[in-house]
């Protein structure tokens, strides 16, 4: 997937480029509004990751421009402004997701994956990882073609792991993906532990290999060999 990253903070932009490139995406970075409009005009992207506060313009205007030119691409807003109005406005003018800084790269990646699935297969696809098969549209999961009954959170968790396979996923990243900001999430580490324990048990019961590795004190990794 070809991704344009519009973020004026170079170190942050570099991190995104590195993480996403590692996932096999083709990333280009621009650091201001003007350059971004030029690139959008010249090249084709599947997705754009855009910051709202740019030195020479507003990321929301960039989205409006894209929508006006009827360019179809996935849009993810990243912003330090976590106001509800901004969020609503961003989503209303056509953004797919709104991430508040600081965010976790795994979370950004998971959102990009879901945009990718939507663009590539119109959403009606399956994700197959060895013996695991997911049907995102129906929120269904299969192991060796046997359906496993997962709770909503367990399903989201599995999808998140698969989207970030072979990556170290921190507990904090998981918590924020599953429950969003604003909650006093300290105890959600317990919640996560419970969710993962249950998910792992359900997967193992159907003969699935134990892919979920615990990294002590830090988080988890969905490890495929």
């Amino acid at each position: 997937m070809k991704i344009l990253i519009v973020e004026d903070e170079k170190p942050l932009s570099d991190s995104m480029v590195e993480y996403l490139s590692d996932e096999g995406h083709l990333c280009e970075a621009t650091y201001n509004y003007f350059e971004a409009t030029e690139k959008i005009g010249m090249y084709q992207y599947d997705c754009i990751v855009v910051d709202i506060n740019l030195p020479d313009g507003n990321g929301l205007d960039l989205i409006r421009l894209i929508k006006k030119q009827a360019i179809t691409l996935g849009i993810i807003i990243i912003s330090a402004l976590n106001s509800l109005e901004n969020r609503i406005e961003g989503l209303e003018i056509g953004a797919d997701h709104y991430l508040t800084k600081p965010f976790h790269l795994a979370e950004l990646n998971a959102h990009l994956k879901s945009i990718n699935r939507r663009i590539s297969f119109g959403g009606s696809n399956q994700i197959i990882i060895n013996e695991i098969r997911l049907i995102p549209d129906e929120h269904k999961a299969f192991v060796h073609d046997q359906e496993i009954i997962l709770t909503k959170k367990e399903y989201e968790l599995l999808l998140f792991f698969i989207s970030n396979k072979n990556k170290v996923i921190t507990k904090a990243g998981l918590a924020e993906y599953l429950w969003g900001d604003y909650m006093d999430l300290a105890d959600s580490y317990d919640f996560i532990y419970t969710h993962i324990k249950n998910l792992r048990r359900k997967l193992l019961k159907k003969g699935c290999e134990d892919y979920i590795k615990t990294i002590y004190g830090l988080g988890y990794k969905f490890e495929l060999n």
């Binding site: 330090a80 509800l84 959170k153 921190t170 909650m183 105890d187 004190g217 830090l218």
Partner: protein, 411 residues
């Protein structure tokens, strides 16, 4: 005030004139009536051989004077009225008239009874008028001074209730008294200055919080990448994990503080009817795994019809924080009781009694020793949201249960 007194005075004079007039008329009428009676009697006396009628009112007593002539004099005297058999007070004029070298002492009388009555009435009337004016003046004076003090007391109450965080304008009543006006002016400038300082400070903190987000995002993203590099020793992982945890804590803290500031600034204006029971059930669903693992028994006594008018986003934050709190401090195999009526929401959970003052619960950064990772801002957020909507939130400990109660109606 002057106008009121003048008005009363004028009315009094007019009333006085008419009343006096009426009194005098009455008096004259009475005299005329007496005159009529005496005339009638005189006529009767003329036509009969009865003893001639003596009209005391017109009595003239003429005596021959042998003594040296007295001067003309006015005196009060009592005369016996044979008809009423009573003595009555008369005013008498005595003078000497010389007819054919003979001195005659002539006394003429005028009854004082009627005039006395008139005088008494006039005195009473005048006193009434004066009393009326004095009373009016006192009332008017008291009223106007109360009006003046009212402004003062109004100012006093407003200062007492002054909240620099309030979004209502600080307005004081106008006064006619210069000193009060001065006081109000000074107060207005002062509160204005305090408010501006406060807003500047708040803006500074908000900006700082927002600016912190970007460096935090960079730190987090770099750590994310560092973690992915893979070829780290276990002790290195541990180092990164600790640093990562700390930066995460910082970013969560920052986000929560920004949220608190936003609630304080009332940046969640739009309210609509929210159904708490639907929200709570959704939350319970997403937390069901945890509830199962802790073997917590959920007892739902919520009225599913109840709606509350508030911002849906804040409503969710409020309820989620209360639920999480009740789960966090629950004991394995404990109970979680949810009760909702149109006036209150009450969430109770099993657990050992608190070792601290209940008021401390709502303080920022207060955390219990049992969950050190907690930021201690959850209940603070709950309280802020409740305050914003004028709800009352209360903690109590009953039958080994922690009870959080939110009253939707203003206390």
């Amino acid at each position: 005030m002057l106008a009121i007194s003048l008005f009363v005075f004028l009315i009094g004079i007019v009333a006085f004139y008419y009343f006096l007039r009426q009194q005098v008329d009455q008096n004259i009428n009475l005299e005329l009536k007496k005159r009529e009676i005496s005339l009638n009697k005189e006529f009767d006396a003329l036509h009969s051989s009865a003893k001639p009628y003596v009209n005391l009112n017109d009595t003239v007593i003429i005596t021959t004077l042998n003594q040296p002539r007295p001067a003309e004099n006015f005196t009060d005297t009592l005369l016996f009225n044979p008809e009423t058999h009573q003595y009555a007070l008369y005013r008498q004029l005595g003078f000497v008239k010389t007819i054919h070298n003979q001195d005659f002492y002539i006394q003429i009388f005028k009854p004082l009874e009627e005039t006395d009555r008139l005088i008494i009435r006039i005195v009473i009337l005048m006193n009434l008028l004066v009393i009326m004016i004095i009373v009016t003046l006192i009332i008017a004076n008291r009223h106007s001074s109360r009006q003046d003090w009212k402004v003062f007391y109004d100012t006093l109450t407003k200062i007492k209730n002054y909240d620099v965080n309030s979004h209502e304008e600080f307005l004081l009543q106008q006064s006619d008294i210069k000193e009060f006006e001065d006081l109000n002016r000074v107060l207005l400038t002062m509160t204005e200055r305090i408010k501006n300082d406060y807003l500047n400070l708040k803006e500074y903190i908000e900006n700082a919080s927002h600016e912190i987000q970007t460096p935090l995002a960079i730190i987090n993203s770099k750590m994310d990448l560092l973690l992915q590099s893979g070829d780290m020793k276990e002790n290195q992982y541990k180092l990164v994990a600790d640093a990562y945890e700390a930066s995460n804590r910082l970013s969560r803290l920052n986000k929560t503080l920004i949220l608190l500031a936003k609630i304080e600034n009332r940046q969640f204006p739009e309210s609509k009817p929210v159904n708490p029971s639907i929200m709570i059930n959704n939350q319970l669903e997403s937390l069901e795994d945890l509830i199962h693992s802790k073997k917590i028994k959920v007892i739902n006594r919520m009225d599913s019809e109840v709606t509350v008018l508030m911002n849906p986003y804040l409503a969710e934050i409020l309820l989620v924080n209360l639920i999480k709190n009740a789960l966090r401090h629950n004991i394995p195999g404990g109970e979680l009781i949810l009760e909702l009526s149109s006036s209150t929401f009450r969430i109770s959970n099993s657990g050992p009694a608190l070792q601290l003052e209940p008021e401390m619960l709502f303080k920022r950064f207060h955390t219990s020793s049992s969950s050190p990772e907690s930021l201690g801002l959850g209940l603070s957020i709950v309280e802020k949201i409740c305050t914003m909507y004028g709800f009352k939130v209360n903690y109590s400990y009953q039958n080994n249960m922690h009870v959080m109660q939110v009253d939707f109606h203003k206390a």
